[in-house]
Symmetry: C2
Subunit: 326 residues, 2 copies
Amino acid sequence: MAKRFPAETYVNGILSGDRVLLSRAITLVESKLLQDQELAQEVIAAVLPHAGNSVRIGITGVPGVGKSTFIEAFGNYVIAQGYKKLAVLAIDPTSQRTGGSILGDKTRMDSLSVNPNAFIRPSPAGKSLGGVTRSTRETIILCEAAGFDAIIVETVGVGQSETAVHAMVDFFLLLMLAGAGDELQGIKRGIMEMADAIAITKADGTNADKAKAARAEYQNALHLYPMSQSGWLPQVSVCSALQQTGLDTIWNIIAEYLTLTQGNGYFEKKRRDQNLQWMYEAIRQGLEENFYAHQQVKEKLTTITEQVKTGQKSAFAAAHELLRLV
Amino acid sequence: MAKRFPAETYVNGILSGDRVLLSRAITLVESKLLQDQELAQEVIAAVLPHAGNSVRIGITGVPGVGKSTFIEAFGNYVIAQGYKKLAVLAIDPTSQRTGGSILGDKTRMDSLSVNPNAFIRPSPAGKSLGGVTRSTRETIILCEAAGFDAIIVETVGVGQSETAVHAMVDFFLLLMLAGAGDELQGIKRGIMEMADAIAITKADGTNADKAKAARAEYQNALHLYPMSQSGWLPQVSVCSALQQTGLDTIWNIIAEYLTLTQGNGYFEKKRRDQNLQWMYEAIRQGLEENFYAHQQVKEKLTTITEQVKTGQKSAFAAAHELLRLV
C-alpha cells in the first residue's frame, strides 16, 4: 500500500481534477484495510456535495460483441463533439476466474486511454460482487467530483453484475450481435427488459443488412414489453465501431432519454431511489456478513444446507435454527 | 383461534387426506401467534417426507385477463381427465388495500370449489408479502402431503409477488389478453421473461383472430429471449374458458415441460435451488426484522433515509452508521 495522505489532500486533488490523486483515492475505496476504508469514507463525505452532475451509462453485452471496441469509439466520439469528459469503469467479478479483468488490459482502448478527457479504471481485483459494486458506486462519486460528467460502467452480460450496474446508472445500453441465434444464449434472461436501448454492433460489410433486420426485429419485440415507469420506449439502433457509424444515433438516443426523464422528474426520482436501494443493500450485506461469519453458524451451515436441499428439513425451520445461534 | 389439537392429530389427518384438518393446519401456518407457529413447524417437519410429489404451477396475469375463470375451467379439465388432484392457492398481498383477496370470494370458482378433487384456499389476510409467501410455501407442503399432486399458485402480475411465486413453482404460466397495447402496461417488466408459457385468454368470438395474431407475435418475441437453463423454449397458446378450448394444449405444454426437465435433471435441481433460496431468504428476513425493530435504528432511520435520498450522505456511510447502533 502506498503512503496515505490526509483526507484533505485527496479532496483538494479530486476537486481540482488531479488524476493521480483521483486514482489513489479510488485505490483507498477498493482497499480492504479498515484504515483505508475509514479514510476513503472521509474523502467521499467531503466530495459528495460536488458529485451527481453526470450522466451514468451502463453498457453490457456478451464477450465477442465488441464492448471494448465500441466503448473506445463511442467514448472518443462523445469527447470529440465536446459533449462530455468521460470516465470508464468496469464491474467484472469474474476476472479472478478468467485471469484478467475486462478493462485490465488498458491497451485494448489505445486511443481512448491517452485521450486527456478520458479516465479509464479497470475492475478492482480480488473482491466479491458485493465488494466490486460498492467500490464502483463510490468511484462514480469520486469521478463526478473530479469533473467527469459522463460515466460509463461496463460489465459482462452473463452473470449477476448487470443487475448491480442497472441499479447504479441512469441509462442502460445493451450491445447485441445481429442474428437472433445461438450467440444470444449467453445473455442472461431479464437483461433485455432492463435495456433503455439496444445497439446492434458490427453493422458493417456483409453484416450490415443482417444488423438492420435484427434492429427491426428487436424494435418489434420491445414494443411488446410493458412500458417503463419513465415513459421511455427503448430504442434499437445499429452501429459500427470499425466504420465509426451509428455512434451519433446512440448519443442522440441518450440525449433524448435525458431530455424526457429530466423533464418529467423520473431522472431525479430514479437517482434518489437508487441511493436508498444502495443503503438498504449495504445494511443487508453488513447483517449477512456478520451472521455468516459467526462461529456457530459456520459450523452448522453445511449440514443444514444439505438437509434443506434434500428436503429433510423445511427452509423456514432451517433458517430459524440458524438464527437462534447468534 | 379455534382449539388446538396435538401435532399428531393434524399430521394423521393430513396424511389421510382430511380436508378439515388440512385447512386447520394451514390456519396454524398463517397464524402470527408464537404457539401456533411452533405447532405448525412441528406438523410441517412431520409431513415433510410425504411432500414434493406434485407439479407446482404459478399463474399470473393482470386483473381483467380472466384468471379466476381460466383457473376454474383449467382446473376442472385437469381433474376430469383424471390427471391430477388439484389445490389452488393464492398470493395476494394487495388484498388488504383492495378490500378483497383474489380467491377470497370462492363463489367466483363455483364449480371448481365443489369438485371433490379440488381444494381452494384464499390468500391469507393481514400479512406482508414476506409473510404471505412463507405461509403459501408451507401450505404447498401440507397440500402435497394430503395427496394433492397439482398445485396452482395464483397471483396478480402487477407487484412483486410474481417473483416470489416464480421462486416456488416448477412451471410459470402468464395469462395475457390479445392486442399488444395499453392493457399490457399493467404487467411488471421482467415477468414475460419468467414465463415458461404464455396463454392468450378470451380467444373466442370476434376476439379469436386477434388472439391468434397475438400468439404468433409473442412466439416470435420469445424466440429472441436467451434460452433458459432448462433447455425449454417458452410456448404461446390461445384458449377460451368460455368455450373450453385450448385447455388441453396448455396441459400438454406443461406435460412436455415436465418430461423434458424431469428427464434432464433440471426439475430436481430447480427444486433444490428453490429450497436453499427460501432458507437464505428466511435468514435475511429474520436478520432484517430484528435490525429494523431495534429501538435506536427506528429512531434514526427517517433522518438518515432523508439524508441519503437527497445526497447529503452516501449510502454506504449511512448503512455503516445504522449498523453501528445494534
